[in-house]
């Protein structure tokens, strides 16, 4: 089962930094176990371009499609047996502590 994991900021991060896990350890461990297919950090939302085509015309907007305080700053594609495994992988990611993660399953199984 594949899950897209959106990595987002959050207005109420964990204050005790000693509890936040290390990202290098997370990436290395999940890559080695075959649970992380790919992933990356994204440039700031100010670098985003939103694209629509209406009536054959390409319409471009500067910025992300939704202006919110919490923004997507990265993503990972996970391969997990089920949601419980994906939750365990997500909970060990530093941004689960300092931000928030959204697990979205692929629609095809």
């Amino acid at each position: 089962m594949k899950y897209m994991m959106f990595v987002c900021t959050d207005s109420e991060p964990e204050t005790d930094e000693s509890r936040v896990p290390d990202i290098e350890v997370w990436v290395a461990g999940n890559d080695a176990a075959g649970r992380r297919i790919t992933g990356n950090v994204l440039a700031a939302p100010s670098a985003a371009t939103t694209v629509r085509v209406r009536g054959g015309e390409v319409l471009l907007t500067d910025g992300p499609f939704a202006e919110t305080k919490e923004v997507i700053v990265g993503f990972d594609i996970l391969e997990c047996a089920d949601l419980d495994e994906a939750i365990a992988v997500a909970a060990a990611h530093p941004m689960a502590h300092t931000g928030r993660l959204e697990l979205r399953p692929y629609a095809d199984r």
Binding site: M1, A81, D82, L83, D84, I87, P105, R109
Partner: protein, 399 residues
């Protein structure tokens, strides 16, 4: 319908969860599992009064449900291996008892998965495990049937789409997940026990706690929760007068308490260690259940248990009840002091029970006009009509 048939159909509901749970495991199809279990129940209701109750009612229900599932799957041209698996279900030549028990536990843990909203968990548990009609669930949660249907359908879709596993969590995760399951049962029970609740839900919660207790005997909080339910539920007939109005604990006719339920609850507590909040709450309920009269209540023990509960599971409601207990054990002034502490963070603002507690303490401290005023203020913010009437009656007594 004869009484025998009625009892057999009632006992058949115990088979319902087994049938649904095993069919979900093998087919992965929640709707199919429910439909087939319901059709088996309907067939029993139709045939047993006419043809007599079969020698093994549970086996009869399982066979009807399984055959129905095979029919549906065959028509849907499901692959042969799955059909064979369904056909092998409940094969009397194999000893399947443990496997079936595991299926029901799997079902409970999946329905109560924390990735589902709490409302969805409660609704799904009622619908899938207890077989309660969606219309009844909707009524109890003050919403329309289509809304409740959508909520349940969405929960089932999420289980499939996000692949919420159909299994009991492994040992380390179990400790983390069990409280969530017990919270669903507790909410279900209070939904049945509340002033404007659906009384049948309290009985359903007891049935589920009994099942979970039998399936997980090594987890002390599970039998503790069952004992808590039994002890509270023992007062159900004494809690309402002939007009349907609430009767407060001091005024209840204790001869109407269910002695068998109390005995069962106390027996469970005898051999269950105090390990968590339900164990403590059950002991508080036991103190009430064993007091011959209200005046005989062992308030200093109850106050001690509330001190412990406030340490292991602090909440505004626990703080409020702790104030009540100390108010009886150590006098109204001690109670008012703890009430002020409980209210300090504002969580109990406009909470009718907190105002009623203050009213009661003030009355016992001697200021009757102020107490009557407070009871009227509590009635003004109470959500249920029966509660309002009870509070206004208290105010009238003090005038």
């Amino acid at each position: 319908m004869t009484e025998d048939v009625g009892a057999a159909v009632e006992a058949g509901w115990d088979s319902y969860a087994r049938i649904v749970a095993s069919l979900i495991r093998v087919t992965g199809d929640w709707n199919l599992a429910e439909d087939c279990a319901q059709e088996a129940m309907a067939a029993a209701l139709e045939r047993w009064p006419r043809d007599g109750v079969p020698g093994n009612p549970g086996g009869w229900l399982r066979t009807v449900a399984r055959n129905r599932a095979i029919d549906v799957l065959r028509r849907a041209a499901v692959e042969k291996t799955k059909l064979r698996e369904v056909a092998m279900l409940w094969d009397p030549s194999r000893p399947p008892a443990e496997e079936i028990d595991d299926d029901r536990l799997r079902l409970i843990f999946t329905c109560c998965h924390p990735a589902l909203s709490l409302e969805a968990r409660v609704a799904l548990t009622l619908r899938t495990i207890a077989g309660v009609p969606t219309a009844d669930i909707a009524r109890a949660f003050l919403t329309s049937e289509p809304t409740m249907t959508r909520r349940i359908t969405r929960a089932k879709s999420k289980i499939a789409a996000a692949r919420i596993p159909y299994r009991v969590p492994a040992a380390d995760a179990l400790a983390e997940r069990l409280p969530g399951v017990l919270a669903v049962l507790y909410l279900l029970f209070t939904r049945g026990y509340d002033a404007d609740g659906e009384p049948a839900f309290a009985a359903e919660a007891i049935r589920l706690a009994r099942l979970l207790s039998a399936l997980m005997p090594a987890e002390p909080e599970v039998p503790s929760l069952l004992a808590l339910f039994l002890l509270q539920h023992s007062r159900r007939d004494a809690r309402r007068d002939a007009a349907g109005d609430l009767v407060t604990l001091p005024k209840q006719d204790r001869s109407r308490w269910d002695r068998a339920a109390i005995a069962e609850g106390l027996e469970i507590l005898l051999h269950t260690p105090v390990e968590g909040p339900y164990a403590v709450q059950a002991r508080i309920a036991a103190c009430h259940a064993t007091a011959r009269t209200f005046a005989d209540t062992d308030w200093s023990s109850i106050a001690g248990w509330y001190d412990q509960l406030a340490r292991i599971q602090p909440s505004p409601i626990v703080a409020l009840n702790r104030a009540v207990a100390h108010g009886y054990a150590n006098g109204p002034d001690a109670g008012l002091l703890l009430l002020a502490e409980a209210r300090a963070d504002g969580a109990l603002d406009n909470y009718p029970a907190a105002i009623a507690v203050e009213a009661d303490l003030v009355a016992r401290a001697g200021d009757r006009p102020r107490a009557a005023e407070l009871f009227r203020a509590a009635a003004a913010v109470a959500p249920a009509e029966v509660e309002r009437r009870a509070l206004l009656a208290r105010a009238a007594e003090l005038a």
